[in-house]
């Protein structure tokens, strides 16, 4: 549970950063979104949704 919370918090921080700051070049934003997505997905790797 603690690991899951940590992952979600990290993913949420990356997501909020990407959402609020427009980086130049813009692919940094895309990279942050994808990183955030991958982090939350890792948690669910052995579960089905």
């Amino acid at each position: 549970m603690k690991k899951d919370i940590t992952k979600i918090v990290i993913a949420l921080i990356l997501f909020i950063i990407s959402l609020t700051i427009s980086f130049n070049p813009s692919y940094i934003n895309t990279f942050l979104y994808i990183a955030s997505y991958i982090i939350v997905r890792i948690r669910n790797s052995n579960k089905s949704n």
Binding site: M1, D4, I8, F15, S18, Y33, V40, R41, N49
Partner: protein
């Protein structure tokens, strides 16, 4: 959910794609937390598992795993320790806390020769206990097994939702595909319709429905366990909530199941003297009636004053006590010995006594109604039950007397154990006939017994409830619901919890379905976007999870 996020990535909607997965995971985390917490109330029972036993071997006390202790071995239970195995006290006295098994907070006093059960806590004295059961057969193991298996037996509502989710998911995916393709063909703008279809997929996730129901049942079963009522599965919890007829076994359930002297009517002799003579006359008999007389006398029997005891089959006993001829028995004995007796109008087993061929009085022996029975039945009838029935093997007049005192609606007496089963089956059939006449009636019938000789009746009824089952393996096996104490008011508590659980479960189902349908329509029409869909999905999940809270706090 995966399709929706990948689709959102494909059309370049990165924030939405991440938001869907992120909030979905937050929802899942909350859901896991709620399930864990709910299961914890059941698992708190598992804390009653003893970790070790102090066994006495070769005059040494060794700390071992309870599973390694054999029958007949002696264990030492120190103050504050949990009793690890079932057994009989051979030395010491103490107060024991049985709350983990019974839900009763009042400690029980125990002494030498008393039976103690594993899982209870020894409060003050040091106890030496001779083990009577292996750990696997002990009360604590049986209870743990029962509680652990409770979640496997699913209620109809639970099964319905599981089936519903299986059909629902492909239907929703297909609808989303149609939503993306057909309007595009008609109106064009594929990206817009794909976005709507993906939002549709997000909001359609049935997790709130799928999770809230088992969560509700977990909470209900856990709450009941805390009150000393073990419910073997969600199906029984659901059936209990629909109970409107309760059939009671008399002896041991409504009454104490122990014969006791209720009254003494003495003629030309004191009551004490009459009881003394009768107790001495019955002193060599082990019949339950003789035992109840000896118990009422409560003094030591002086064998030197007894002579010529003669048992008269089917009639009673004739003896010489303090050189007086004493006749103790039924009416037939009085008639046979030509005693001019006064017929008793009391209900129960009447012992007629004659001293030196002169009628000396009567002693009424009967089973005693449990103290809280009447209040518990009245309250049940007032709040939840339409009909109460009593079945007994006892004589008609005794049965009717008990039924009248307890205001029971129907009574069937002089029944053999197999006739009791037939009667329960008849009652079930008549209930089903009424059901056919009125389709809305799907009420259930519960049978309440003391569990040992009532196993078949417990098994055939819709809900079998075993009372006072502490330490009785047969009862735990046969019943669907096990009430650990003799307290009949626990039936009402269990019904109350079951009704509350079902009300909350149904409310959660209705709430989830209504909100989901509303958001689905809004999404398909393009009124709500993917962000709103995400919050609708997670929001509904959080609300239904929070909604099950009152069951545990009830």
């Amino acid at each position: 959910m995966s399709i929706a996020t990948i689709g959102a990535f494909a059309i370049g909607e990165f924030p939405e794609a991440v938001a869907v997965m992120l909030f979905y995971q937050i929802g899942e985390l909350l859901q896991d937390y709620a399930v864990d917490k709910s299961k914890a109330s059941i698992k708190s029972l598992l804390n009653i598992r003893p970790d070790y036993a102090n066994v006495k071997r070769n005059n040494e006390i060794i700390k071992v795993n309870p599973e390694e202790v054999n029958i007949e071995e002696t264990i030492i239970v120190k103050p504050g320790e949990r009793i690890p195995l079932d057994g009989i006290i051979i030395n010491g006295k103490s107060m024991i806390d049985t709350s983990a098994l019974t839900g009763e907070s009042v400690p029980r006093s125990v002494k030498v020769q008393d039976e103690v059960l594993s899982g209870c806590i020894n409060q003050n004295g040091l106890l030496e206990v001779k083990v009577t059961k292996k750990f696997k057969e002990s009360t604590v193991s049986k209870m743990l097994e029962l509680v652990q298996n409770a979640s496997d037996k699913k209620a109809k509502t639970e099964n319905f939702i599981t089936k519903f989710a299986k059909i629902y998911t492909p239907v929703v995916v297909l609808t989303a595909v149609i939503l993306a393709i057909i309007p595009t063909i008609i109106f064009g703008n594929f990206t817009q319709w794909l976005y709507r279809a993906l939002s549709f997929l997000v909001v359609s996730c049935p997790c709130a429905l799928v999770i809230s129901i088992p969560l509700g049942f977990f909470a209900g079963i856990g709450r009941s366990a805390k009150a000393g009522v073990l419910i073997k599965g969600g199906n029984y919890l659901e059936a209990l909530s629909k109970t409107n007829t309760i059939v009671f076994d008399k002896t041991g359930t409504l009454t104490q199941g122990v014969f006791e002297v209720q009254s003494i009517n003495a003629f030309n002799i004191s009551k004490e003297e009459l009881l003394k003579l009768v107790a001495h006359a019955e002193s060599y008999s082990n019949h339950p009636i003789a035992n109840s007389i000896k118990k009422a006398y409560a003094k030591e029997i002086n064998n030197s004053i007894i002579s010529n005891i003669q048992e008269l089959a089917g009639l009673g006993i004739e003896a010489t006590i303090q050189e007086k001829n004493v006749l103790v028995g039924n009416e037939k004995l009085m008639l046979q010995k030509n005693i001019n007796y006064v017929k008793s109008k009391e209900v129960g087993t009447i012992l007629y006594v004659a001293i030196n061929k002169e009628f000396a009085g009567t002693i009424l022996i009967s089973d005693k109604i449990k103290e809280n029975t009447k209040a518990a039945l009245n309250s049940l009838k007032q709040h939840y039950i339409a009909k109460t029935v009593m079945l007994t093997g006892d004589k008609k007049e005794i049965a009717e007397d008990v039924a009248k005192k307890l205001e029971i609606d129907e009574v069937y007496s002089e029944l053999l154990p197999d006739e009791k089963v037939k009667k329960v089956e008849e009652l079930l059939k008549s209930k089903n006939k009424n059901k056919n006449k009125n389709r809305s009636t799907n009420k259930t019938l519960a049978f309440v017994g003391d569990g040992i000789n009532d196993s078949p009746a417990l098994a055939v009824s819709d809900v079998g409830i075993a009372m006072g089952a502490l330490g009785s393996d047969a009862a735990i096996e046969a019943a669907d619901i096990v009430i650990m104490t003799d307290d009949l008011s626990k039936i009402e508590t269990a019904i109350k919890i079951s009704k509350k659980t079902m009300r909350i479960v149904k409310r959660n189902i209705a709430f989830s379905i209504v909100v989901k349908i509303a958001i689905l329509i809004l999404t398909a029409l393009g009124i709500s976007n993917m962000w709103q869909a995400v919050f609708a999905d997670v929001g509904v999940l959080v609300l239904v999870v929070l909604g099950t809270g009152p069951i545990a706090r009830f």
